[in-house]
């Protein structure tokens, strides 16, 4: 049964915009709560979709295989969590948006993630460069608006400008890369390209490698891989916090899906494989080292999470570099799922804390263990899982990735990975130290947490711990 879930999400977004403009008296938070309920309904509906095998669909543009279906759910879940964060963050947004009436601009703030979600879901199923390009741009352009959303806040505007320029630059690379691949193979569909490459494996190597290289650069921008990571810290720090979380989870995951599909299509030719795998391994190693080392001296929580997001892109790239192994795809998907849980949990705690303290510094977490024990515990779990402590989902994610890399004999990458994990413990535990061993300032305002946020945080903590001990149900479920 086919069911256009992307169009449903798109219609929901348009409907929300209409309601927002024609009924200005409606409370915007109610609108967001309604959107969450509808997205949950769509999420449930995707379980009635039947995945069709990748190369079997009649239409070369759009594939509903198991991987695509999984990432549609991933996009829906991360959009729901982003909306929960956005509701918590709404007062801050209101402060930085000029408007004649209270809540002006909030409607758009809650609606834009929904359009992004539709783009992410199209990206998950895209099997043709035309489709990949359009979906990617829907996601990227809606992110430009979201990053620069607080237009009376210099940091947000500056982050938006930087993201705009570097995002558009990566679009330029992507398009030019697609051009050369089309020129050499005469195809834009990934299936067509791998058929052509299978027939003429030696077809003008240089031009083809040039095209693939440009596409790797552009996807490297999207997934925040070094040396294309320089926009990440600034944009993550300046963007509204829910958008930062959305950007670091959903945008990265969609980038990895496209990367996996593109790399898969080009691995048919052994000559290309011999060049592509070392290139990916090099990117992975560089990203691991850069992300983890640069995170060490950070004092701003959002910047720390930005570097941690670069570091996690490194572990995921180790998985992509081991694509030959059948376990690699599953390892990447599991890692992304773990990354979703722990990153959103960290941001869920960060928003109320920074709202109370008025800043995002790690020192604002001082004494949180006393001031808000529940939230401090949630942050503790998130940090331990991000660091990769056993019995959390983050540990299993790294374990599966390294296992896949061992099978492909990427020993250097595994050693590098293990060393950088140790490095990661240092900066993640800095936050834990601030929460439990540093005294709270005398005049620390109370941390107020809404019931919805509290419930979501408890849910995420439970999932991280349960899946960390007993991952079998989710592993059976993964594509």
């Amino acid at each position: 049964m086919s069911f256009p879930v992307e169009f449903c999400v798109l219609s929901l977004g348009i409907l929300m915009l209409l309601v927002d403009s024609f009924f200005p008296s409606i409370d915007k938070r109610t609108l967001a709560h309604t959107a969450i309920v509808w997205l949950a309904v769509f999420l449930a509906a995707t379980f009635f979709l039947q995945p069709s095998p990748l190369w079997a669909s009649p239409n070369g543009f759009y594939e509903t295989d198991a991987l695509g279906l999984f990432f549609k759910r991933f996009a829906l879940v991360s959009t729901i969590l982003t909306l929960v964060l956005a509701i918590e963050y709404a007062p801050v947004v209101e402060r930085f948006i000029p408007g004649s009436r209270p809540g002006a601009g909030l409607g758009e703030f809650f609606t834009l993630p929904i359009f992004t979600c539709a783009g992410l879901m199209w990206m998950a199923s895209a099997a043709d460069f035309v489709m990949i390009f359009c979906a990617l741009e829907l996601v990227t352009i809606s992110f430009y608006i979201q990053v620069a959303f607080m237009r009376r806040n210099m940091a947000s505007l500056e982050a938006g400008t930087k993201y705009l320029i570097l995002g558009a630059l990566s679009t330029g690379f992507l398009v030019y890369g697609i051009t050369w691949i089309f020129g050499m193979t005469g195809q834009t569909g990934l299936r067509g390209i791998s058929t052509v490459l299978g027939m003429v494996p030696q077809a003008s190597q240089t031009a083809l490698l040039f095209g693939i290289g440009l596409i790797l650069v552009s996807l490297g921008f999207k997934v925040a891989a070094a040396p294309f990571q320089f926009w990440v810290p600034d944009v993550y720090q300046g963007a509204p916090t829910p958008v930062t979380a959305f950007l670091s989870v959903a945008s990265k995951a969609a980038g990895f899906v496209v990367l996996m599909r593109v790399v898969d299509a080009f691995l048919v030719a052994p000559a290309l494989q011999a060049k592509l795998v070392p290139a990916l391994g090099f990117l992975a190693g560089l990203t691991l080292v850069y992300g983890n080392l640069a995170a060490l001296p950070q004092t701003n929580m959002k910047r720390l999470l930005a570097y941690s997001s670069i570091a996690h892109a490194g572990y995921l790239l180790v998985g992509v570099a081991s694509v030959g192994s059948p376990a690699a795809g599953r390892a990447i998907v599991f890692y992304l799922l773990a990354y979703l849980l722990m990153t959103f949990l960290a941001f869920l705690v960060l928003i109320p804390v920074s709202k109370a303290a008025g800043g995002d510094d790690i020192s604002d977490f001082n004494g949180l263990g006393r001031r808000a024990p529940g939230m401090a515990f949630a942050m503790l779990i998130a940090m331990l899982s991000l660091a990769g402590l056993p019995f959390t989902v983050g540990f299993l994610g790294k374990f599966f990735i390294f296992e896949a890399a061992m099978r492909q004999q990427h020993f250097v990458l595994v050693v590098l990975g293990v060393v950088t994990v140790a490095c990661g413990f240092y900066y993640y535990l800095k936050v834990v130290r601030a929460m439990y061993w540093q005294p709270a300032p005398e005049d620390a305002p109370p941390v107020l947490v809404s019931p919805l946020t509290r419930f979501t945080a408890a849910f995420l903590v439970t999932l991280i711990l349960v899946l960390g001990v007993y991952p079998k149900p989710i592993l059976d479920f993964l594509p």
Binding site: E137, I141, T161, T171, G172, F173, V175, Y176, F182
Partner: protein, 106 residues
């Protein structure tokens, strides 16, 4: 009669001019022009490839030509959003120079 190579050289030139503009110029509006130039370089070579490399049935690859229309549309959307952000920035800081963007530490 221009050949495929002529078109590719022009398109490569446009792409390089755009890239150098993005990397070297300091005014955000000029940088934006460079970005547009890069997209148009891709458009030119896409159409050239599609026109010169005919398929077995003697027809050009139409997917590429459709992609060109999508690129034009997306570029327009990007400009709309981008200029809005730049205008908002100008209202806050009265500047369009990248050196003045120093709120976030590097």
């Amino acid at each position: 009669m221009p050949t495929l190579a002529n078109y590719l050289i022009v398109s490569g030139g446009l792409f390089s001019i755009g890239l150098v503009g993005v990397l070297l110029r300091r005014n955000i509006l000029i940088i934006f022009m460079g970005l547009e130039l890069m997209l148009n370089a891709a458009n030119l070579s896409l159409v050239a490839f599609s026109r010169f490399n005919l398929g077995q049935d003697g027809l050009p690859g139409y997917n590429a030509q459709v992609l060109v229309f999508f690129i034009i549309t997306v570029a327009a959307a990007e400009v709309a959003v981008g200029l809005a952000i730049i205008v908002a920035l100008y209202r806050m800081r009265q500047t369009t120079h990248v050196e003045d963007l120093d709120t976030l530490k590097f």
